[in-house]
């Protein structure tokens, strides 16, 4: 369970990201947001501090302005698999920030969405899932991650979208679901 100060800091960081999207991140309004980040920021644990720093770097991907961290020889596919299996999402996210990790933007955005979702940060996961789906609109796995996080956040998802997703999962796993029948009223 994330702490209150982590949630407060993250909320303000996402607000700052919104202002950056609008090219208003160097305004008095943005500085007021930054000043409000001091108090929750001063109470973060070292792990929470590391996580929000990583989030700040990751968000630049959505602006096509990400700066990758220097090459790290320990950031190998084996290390990635090991951390993934261990469900060490912070470590997986850290590997994805290295220059020597070669992955397409849509896949990177999707894996980031999955990691942030596992960490319980559905609002962050939604941003990356939206970006992945924007880059590859026909990818049903991306759309499924997008819809799942919308549902995690209690957002409305229209029935046709849900139907498409469920049919996709059914086909993918060879499940016997009759086309369009499961959402019919009883």
């Amino acid at each position: 369970m994330a702490s209150e100060q982590y949630q407060q800091y993250k909320k303000l960081l996402l607000k700052l990201h919104d202002l950056t999207v609008q090219e208003r991140d160097q305004t008095d309004e943005a500085d007021a947001v930054r000043d409000a980040m001091d108090a929750p920021g001063s109470k973060l644990t070292a792990l929470e501090h590391q996580r929000v720093s990583g989030l700040s770097a990751d968000l630049y991907m959505l602006l096509n302005d990400e700066v990758k961290e220097p090459t790290d020889p320990s950031s190998t596919p084996n290390a990635f698999a090991k951390f993934w299996d261990a469900r060490n999402w912070d470590a997986v996210l850290s590997i994805l920030r290295k220059q020597n990790v070669v992955i397409s933007d849509d896949e990177l955005a999707h894996v980031r969405a999955l990691c942030w979702e596992e960490l319980g940060d559905y609002d962050v996961a939604l941003l990356f899932a939206e970006y992945a789906a924007k880059l590859k609109p026909d990818n049903m796995d991306y759309r499924f991650t997008l819809v799942r996080n919308q549902l995690n956040l209690g957002m409305h998802v229209n029935s046709k979208t849900l139907e498409d997703i469920v049919m996709h999962i059914a086909r993918k796993h060879d499940l016997p679901v009759a086309e369009s029948s499961f959402l019919q009223p009883a």
Binding site: L16, D35, A57
Partner: protein, 142 residues
């Protein structure tokens, strides 16, 4: 004396941090009614040790992203701070609970964050003066 880093606006000379925290971060602490107050003086205007102070970090890379000027993003990929502000440092010892200047102590709240606080009960005005007296010891990292 620990080496500490802090993001502050420059003064009019551009070579020293601004004194006080009115109109942006400087050398000092914010007090009520500032909604982001760092310290809360009692009814006599006194503050106590270990109840709040001026934030500091052990290095630029370990500062929170909103405190690292965005112009430094090519080095610190998380940077999302104001470009009007500079990162300053003073001291040269390890980042540990210790004296920063006469009557001022650094108290770590985590391995990445600390507070410069009074070492004994004192009036808030006295604390602000003690902080301002360190002005000549600060240098920018850029």
């Amino acid at each position: 004396m620990p080496k500490i880093y802090r993001t502050m606006l420059p003064d009019s000379s551009g070579t020293k941090p601004k004194l006080g925290c009115v109109d942006g971060p400087g050398l000092g602490v914010r007090v009520p009614p500032d909604p982001n107050a760092d310290v809360f003086p009692d009814q006599n205007g006194d503050i106590m040790p270990q109840t709040g102070g001026m934030s500091a970090a052990p290095s630029v890379g370990e500062m929170l992203p909103h405190l690292i000027p965005k112009r430094m993003k090519h080095v610190y990929s998380q940077a999302n701070g104001s470009n009007k502000r500079d990162v300053w440092f003073m001291g040269e010892g390890p980042f540990a609970n210790s004296e920063v200047a006469p009557s001022l102590k650094l108290r770590l709240t985590s391995s990445k964050h600390g507070l410069v606080e009074p070492d004994s009960k004192m009036p808030i005005g006295r604390f602000q003066i003690l902080l301002s007296e360190t002005q000549d010891q600060w240098r920018t990292v850029e």
